[in-house]
């Protein structure tokens, strides 16, 4: 039987993935290669921010069942340190160049879509409705990032080289997406959460199909593929997350309770 603490932890993972990637995309504001891309990246970020808020709201309600009080969305987003964040290492990777940003998005979108499709069938009605809502938005994100993988991969010599480098560089962070720890196995067993191990095969097939169309080579590295329980989902992060949070949280840390 899973506990409310496990459910809270699981909801934080879903929320933190969306929030951290949203913040990364927001860093492109004013720096996009063309105006349309600037708008598109921030709109994808906006969808993810909306999704994060829905997950945090539910997480706060679950927290109130075992703690003296449940935290609100602002406290969860702005007043936790990096060790308390539960996002995947992939989404905290710095933006890099445009190929890096799009490769990160593509790997994540493919996984995110499969995950949300599974969670839309959750026995927990709140998880199911948030997932079903988010799934529609993420399907569109995936179309967009897929387009860019192909456009840059099957593009000029330079864009091809940069996209291949980005795909290779980020590969090691994809393994964590399919590692299920105790929390995930407990919740998946009760059909509340998703057993991410079953997403590995469809994810690999889908990614291989797109990379082939993009004339890119599918990475085969095994480093960090199948490591057990020592990544972002357990609160073990790269130093990059701390820097990102310092920027993201500074206003609430300096002026506690500040509102727009």
């Amino acid at each position: 039987m899973s506990s409310d603490r496990q459910l809270f932890d699981y909801l934080l993972r879903l929320a933190d993935n969306a929030l951290v990637l949203s913040q990364r995309l927001g860093e492109w504001v004013g720096h996009g290669p063309v105006l349309e891309e600037d708008i598109a990246l921030t709109n994808v970020g906006l969808d993810l921010l909306g999704q994060a808020r829905l997950w945090y709201a539910y997480a706060g309600e679950v927290e109130a069942r075992f703690a003296s009080a449940g935290r609100g969305e602002d406290a969860l987003a702005f007043l936790r340190d990096s060790g308390e964040f539960r996002n995947l290492l992939l989404v905290e990777r710095p933006n890099g160049n445009y190929a890096d940003t799009m490769a990160r998005q593509f790997y994540f979108d493919q996984w995110h879509r499969l995950l949300l499709a599974a969670l839309a069938q959750s026995r927990d009605a709140r998880i199911a409705e948030i997932a079903a809502k988010s799934l529609k938005e993420v399907a569109y994100h995936l179309e967009r990032s897929t387009d860019w993988i192909i456009r840059l991969g099957d593009g000029t010599e330079e864009s091809h080289a940069k996209m291949q480098a980005a795909i290779d560089e980020l590969w090691m962070y994809t393994g964590e997406m399919f590692d299920a720890d105790e929390t995930e196995i407990a919740l998946a067993g009760e059909r509340i959460g998703c057993d991410v191990r079953v997403l590995a095969e469809p994810w690999h097939s889908a990614v291989a199909g797109v990379l082939a169309e993009a004339t890119l080579v599918m990475p085969t590295g095994t480093w960090m593929q199948g490591t057990k329980g020592h990544g972002g989902k357990q609160g073990v992060h790269s130093e990059e997350l701390g820097r990102m949070l310092a920027t993201m949280q500074t206003l609430q840390r300096s002026y506690p309770g500040a509102q727009w």
Partner: protein, 178 residues
């Protein structure tokens, strides 16, 4: 509009729907929140009136403004006790946009949404690509030409994409099927 405080509860419900029909989308002033399909219900729960609203996109910044506008509309007709509730399921779809409002969207310069593509996740998922290829042509809201090109996957709001007509050369917004 003020409804007499002695009206039966059902008359109030009608009055509320009429008031909501006058609340327009802050970004698309030719369509009301009712026509947009986001008002999912109006009902009494004891002595409190509940208006149930569903968001379009989960991060749409207009959501809070719409709630504030609905709040003002309810206060203006003299409802004493009311609450706006958010409902997520079933998720909003552009299929719920009132057919009568579609023509107004086009005259406003926004091509109304076409049919939605199926949402299934396939085992081997290159569907994102094949779906794009199969997508119907988007007609220009000004000259009607179907020789149009997508300029940007997102437009001035999350619910729209930006297109250009290759005949009249005018840019326009396309309300994305969702």
């Amino acid at each position: 509009m003020v409804v007499a405080a002695t009206s039966p509860a059902a008359a109030w419900i009608d009055a509320v729907w009429k008031a909501l029909a006058a609340v327009t989308d802050p970004e698309i002033p030719v369509i009301s929140v009712v026509e947009l399909g986001i008002v999912r219900g109006v009902e009494w729960r004891a002595d409190e009136l509940i208006v149930t609203v569903t968001p379009t996109y989960s991060g749409c910044p207009a959501t809070e403004m719409i709630a504030a506008d609905i709040d003002r509309a309810l206060a203006a007709i003299g409802i004493a006790k009311y609450r706006i509730e958010t409902r997520l399921a079933p998720a909003w779809t552009t299929d719920w946009i009132d057919p009568a409002a579609r023509g107004r969207l086009a005259r406003f310069g926004i091509t109304p949404p076409g049919a939605r593509a199926p949402d299934q996740v396939r085992a081997i998922d290159v569907s994102a690509l094949s779906r794009r290829r199969a997508e119907a042509r988007v007609a220009c809201p000004r000259c009607g030409s179907s020789r149009t090109r997508e300029l940007s996957r997102f437009g001035s709001t999350p619910c729209k994409a930006q297109y250009r007509c290759e005949d009249c050369l005018e840019p326009f917004d396309y309300f994305k099927p969702h």
